[in-house]
Symmetry: C2
Subunit: 485 residues, 2 copies
């Protein structure tokens, strides 16, 4: 009869040891297929252990398929076919999960950290490419108070599955915000909450169709093109003039869906005037398959005048899908965005995609709901708008006072969080960027956002000022000046 | 000259009133295209308001495109083309955002609540179709303590953008858990954290290819088929025998990617034995385009013996993509799942899809990291496993004691959270389900999970016992019995 010696006859690990011994012998061939294993009782007596231990080991081997049983006859070794060179590997680890340590894959072969995880270099003094908001502007103590409130008053709600579009209370709060701040009048049901706009773009491709073609802005936010590519749908780059997307090119492209940010285009800052908006709506109305995705990513930060009314609010043909995010107004680490579906599309979404679970945790949903309902969101937007207004003025005044002033032209500075700075230089853009990098300044240029950049897009830099530490502004401006000399 | 009378000459709303008046007149045609507007100064004097107010109103009209300016000449009305029947609608709301209330879309037309948001009927006594966990099993006080700790010690981390795959600390914690509980030995970098498995399936389709075809289990979890359909990729239903997916059908299908839950199939409970696993790995190894998605959704709840080793742990060809979720072990409302990518796929993921932001908020990521690191997760799993073991035994013993005992056969009861109950009856499944519903019992049958259910799949019901309130078990069993009479 089989015999094994145990390391330690105490504790629950005993059956695991026995299981490993037998498993080893099966894999190595010591116990060939169809071998009959000893009966539980006699095996237990022989090894000096309890029948229960043998029973547990057999049960485990049975459930993993190493052995099979024939009723009233006993247990037999299975015929296991190992995949190419698996046999050797399995033998190595046959000591059980612990033995697997020897097969660790954390060798030099792995590709290191994520593309997105590169730590900020210690040498970066000012990053004008980052559109993140300053962590210290997040209303942390208010948020912490809200979080505690959610834990206390919504403990049961936290464990109750959210509807696919998000909890009703949050959608009601967002609808209220849209009514008050954007003149958008929609039912809470039309609002679909999701884990970031990137996720919502993907949902929209599924909803509108993989067979549709998508028109995007040139220049534009590069991630949008990447997402359409990742979904392998046809996309068209449409050039922009000073009023936004060019209608003639849009028509020529044959695109079905237009994805634009008419209220503050990134990176040019262009605001599409109302006449162009109506022309775009007219284009959309000409075919059932046409839709406009209105990406309203930073409308809350318009620094002068009232916010530009959303296209959604002048669309009476159910053609505009409005998208916005809390990444800019609160924090990009919160991953809450939403879209507003026209009624017809909403019905289709519920019928075809209503099975999707909401991707935002209940915790964030209830916290944000209370944050909006209690008026903190409105206060926060007003406070941060003032902060960015001041930050912009600080930066503009620092430029004015520096020798850089006579070398630059600033445009599109009235909408929020970034403006364009044209440098009076012949130095190629990439050289300016490298020179700046060597001085600890991160810059990006407009031409990088184009497919086939036109001549006049040269020497224009995008100045995101939201992430710059105020006390570094003067020095940062001075360093930019040094790039020209 | 134009003249308007203001409701109230005080406050910042003055320029908004002026803006609305002019905008109204432009849209209604009172001010036709190319009309020259009065100069700011004379207009202000005429209306008895400040020049700044007129300036602000003009600036707003300008930025929205209702007027345009010719330098040193003045401001002119734009030529606005309204889309079909927009003109009338715009006129209605031309009083400004407040006026828009009349256009509210919250009429009877909207399609009501989400598919997923239907409130649980007050008449449901016991729901055997829900695989949710009981809210009271969530370790709420520990979690609340962790949340407070995150607020205190990780306040800055909360505002720092997460790498695309998730924060390193959480991925390290998950890698440790996998090593300890599943014999899976991977680098934290191989782990990609995302907002639910549904989201991760979508990422995998983008990574593996829209041109690939996907094999799924028949019967199987219906959402998986729905997601492949929503992405419009080719899918094949593969029948199962008692050892899992049928290799012959898999080969015949020509599928590239196999999506299975080998350690505890839903709904049959089948555990794929190791011999079949090696055959599946062999199949995968035969072509570069082949992969296996191993969906390990409830392996933590195996009630007898050790957990079944994951296919990932015996795969030495980089062919298995392991997916798991915290929906079962913690709460489905937390939306945290993860996948483990083989090295080669990871490199491709980083190159082609590294631009995607992580969909899980930092807050949940840090909370879960601490929860695992401090040992609470392990304790929680052990505690809930015991709870479900007891719950299952309670239910089985209630069945045994009831007259139902002689009418049922129970199978697949050793893995977690559900088992199969075959009823000795000729009543069609849908009639049993309707009868049960009328008695406040929600049931679902195995045949509903099949495409073309075989004859012998009839009269088998899936008993999810995780969500049943213990004190209702006896009564629920009695009501099931009454469905047969």
């Amino acid at each position: 009869m089989l015999s094994y010696s145990f390391h330690n006859k105490k504790g629950s690990a005993l059956y695991e040891q026995l299981y490993s011994f037998i498993r080893n012998d099966i894999i190595s061939g010591i116990l060939p297929p169809k071998t009959r294993l000893p009966s539980k009782r006699s095996f237990a007596a022989n090894l000096g252990i309890s029948t229960i231990t043998v029973e547990n080991a057999y049960a485990q081997l049975l459930s993993e398929g190493y052995i099979f049983s024939i009723p009233k006859k006993g247990y037999y070794v299975s015929d296991i076919i190992l995949a190419d060179n698996s046999k050797e590997a399995v033998m190595k680890r046959a000591g059980g999960p612990e033995g697997a340590a020897g097969l660790s894959r954390t060798g030099p072969g792995y590709p290191g950290a994520d593309a997105g995880s590169a730590p900020e270099g210690g040498s970066v003094f000012a990053d004008f490419t980052s559109n993140q908001t300053r962590p210290e502007n997040f209303p942390f103590s208010v948020w912490a108070r809200i979080v505690r409130k959610v834990l206390t008053f919504h403990d049961k709600d936290l464990m109750t599955r959210s509807p696919g579009g998000g909890i009703y209370g949050l959608r009601r709060a967002i609808a209220g915000h849209l009514r008050q701040f954007r003149g958008i009048n929609v039912a809470p049901e039309q609002i679909i909450v999701g884990a970031g706009t990137e996720y919502l773009y993907g949902l929209l491709i599924q909803l509108l169709g993989f067979d549709k073609s998508y028109a995007i802005e040139n220049p534009g936010y590069e991630k949008i093109a990447m997402i359409y590519d990742s979904y392998q749908v046809k996309k068209h780059y449409i050039d922009m003039d000073h009023h936004g997307i060019r209608i003639d090119q849009l028509r020529d492209s044959g695109a079905d869906v237009l994805h634009i940010s008419p209220s503050h285009h990134f990176p040019t800052g262009i605001i599409t005037p109302v006449s162009r908006r109506y022309k775009l709506l007219k284009w959309a109305g000409e075919s059932d398959s046409r839709y406009i995705i209105e990406d309203d990513y930073d409308s809350e930060f318009r620094l002068l005048g009232k916010p530009i009314p959303a296209m959604q609010s002048i669309d009476h043909q159910q053609k505009v899908i409005y998208i916005n995010t809390f990444s800019k107004t609160l924090s990009s680490t919160m991953r809450i965005s939403y879209m507003v579906l026209p009624m017809e599309l909403l019905k289709r979404f519920q019928a075809e995609m209503g099975f999707y679970s909401c991707t935002v945790p209940n915790f964030e949903q209830y916290s944000l709901m209370l944050f909006i309902d209690e008026g903190h969101f409105e206060k926060h937007i007003n406070r941060t708008r003032k902060y960015y207004h001041k930050q912009r003025d600080h930066l503009l005044s620092a430029i004015k006072k520096s020798p850089l002033a006579s070398e630059v032209t600033i445009t599109e500075e009235d909408a929020g969080l970034h403006f364009l700075m044209k440098l009076n230089t012949d130095i190629p853009d990439d050289m300016v960027i490298r020179k700046a990098e060597s001085l600890g300044i991160r810059l990006n240029c407009l031409s990088n956002y184009y497919v086939n950049a036109p001549e006049d897009a040269g020497h224009i830099f995008i100045i995101n000022y939201s992430f710059i530490e105020p006390e570094r502004i003067e020095e940062a401006v001075d360093r930019i000046y040094r790039c020209l000399t």
